[in-house]
Amino acid sequence: MRKLAVLAWVFLAALAQPYRAVDATGKAVEVRSIERIVSLDGITTEILFAVGVGDKVVGRDDSSYYPPQVLRLPSVGYQFRLSAEGILSLKPTLVIGREDVRPPQVVDQLRQAGVAVVLVPAEPSVEGAKAKIRVVAQAVGQAERGEALVRALERDLLALRAFQTQRASPKLKGLFLYLRGPGTTFVCGEGSTPVGVMKLAGLENAAQGIRECQPMTAESVVAARPDVIVVFKKGLESVGGLEGLLKLPGVAQTPAGQKRKVVAMDDLYLGSFGPRAGRAALDLFRAAYLKEGFVEVGP
């Protein structure tokens, strides 16, 4: 019986190769081998490990730092300043990255060298997260595990909704600040990923009329009257922690500043719609609605 199962499995595995995936650009890519994968995007790396092919990943980009063991892998640099030869030097059989990698020539150069390149969608929404998971899972022949991830994401979102209906009103206003040192501060609004996760968590976006991220002005922060200020952990460190954030012009004059209501979250966790988007939103919801004062949320 077991022999039969093994035989059946071998037969099925033989059928499954090569894998086919339709990527974000609508291109049908044939993946002949997944022995050596180079991932050019943090969320993609996360998905690769979640569907069980993490041991095949031989290279990453700078934005891939989860799960922690990927830090041991060589990095091909920033995903928007790529070089084809650097990627090829890792002898990949499959390269997966976002559809907006730069320069776009690199994709053609890799394909010309006989490497399968799959581009994943980068839309900052729940639907985008699902599409990302499905494309990556299909490319490595793990469609089943991909669907399981999608279902887990949907479960997290259901749990989140259950929490939200228990504590429906009033909605709090959240303001996301993108910080890179006290001199480089941005307010993010519609179209930016952290604000997307924030709205998913049931916070109202306090930065009305701002698309993506724009330089922060003190008066606009005061005028936004946020009840909660949300930041990335690294961003908070860059301005000298909570005290440094409260010293930034305008922050202390907001309801959030007066109550010291700040939520600091991991960049990759809050800043991208991936398999953990539902849990990230749930954590943010808890931190904003169910806790007082300064909250640090770990992945």
Partner: protein, 348 residues
Amino acid sequence: MGGSSVTKSLVFPRSRRYRLVLLVLALLLVLALLLGAGLGAYPIPPLAIPGILLKGEGVEYQVLTALRFPRVLGAALVGALLALAGAVLQGLFRNPLVDPGLIGVSSGAALGAALFIVLWPGAGVLEVYALPLFAFLGGLLATHLLWRLARTPLGVQVSVLLLSGIALNALVGAGIGLLTFLASEQELRSLTFWTLGGFSALTWRLLLAGLPLALLALFLLLPLARSLNALALGEREAFHLGVDLEALKRRAVAGAALGVGVAVALAGGVGFLGLVAPHLFRLLAGPDHRYLLPGSALLGAGLAVGADLLARTLAAPAEIPVGVVTALLGGPFFLYLVLRYKREVYRA
């Protein structure tokens, strides 16, 4: 061109040193090209390269022919164009601090590229070819505008050209600043890639598209050496030596705009080479334009190939922006030469 009997008297007695330096630079360029083709992030033993090329297939062959060769040759071409344009413009303005950016061509190109990126989002495949074209046209337009501004009844005034160039650069800087403010994050990435410059986007197709214009620029600029030598004495003196000043200015500015336009279209805003290469040659050999123009081109090409080689191997498999490397390499070396010059001339 000027009367040859007169310009003969302008020959410097240092021709031997000039020839020697030119020869060394040519050899260095060949060495840089060979090193650039032989070394890279992808491990290929340099000695195996002829065999791989003869075989004509496989990933190694692809890496060499589709990635490394166009990149190395493109870097050499861009370096040569920038350095030659810099040398000619420094001679034309009789000011050693002039760099190709001053006649508006670099900033015009950057503005052309920025406009394309922000006003035409999601161009996708088109971007690869349309963007260089826009950059090129932007550069030529900006230079043409400056040229019109600097025309007076007494001919083109170089001082007016310089001042308008500074004004135009400020305006274009504001325009690019505004565009970066309006740009979405994705557009911003394209913009930074474009303004920082680099050789990683070079492909055969791009290189061949730029080659005819690049050759035209070389053809316009290299024969200007004698007239520029005469101009070194002053505009009036050059006029009396029979130099057609207006034609010289026209050719120099058009050729420089064309050359820098092509360079920017191929590699974005790689700075520093156009300013420094002519200086290096002057410090190594001397100021005679007949040697300075080809010498700067050789030196610029060698520097660009060397800087690119370091940029793509030091942090392999990742890549350092090439502008960082040119500044890190060129800056201290340049400073050392200046100090040596100071010691020699002023005994300080």
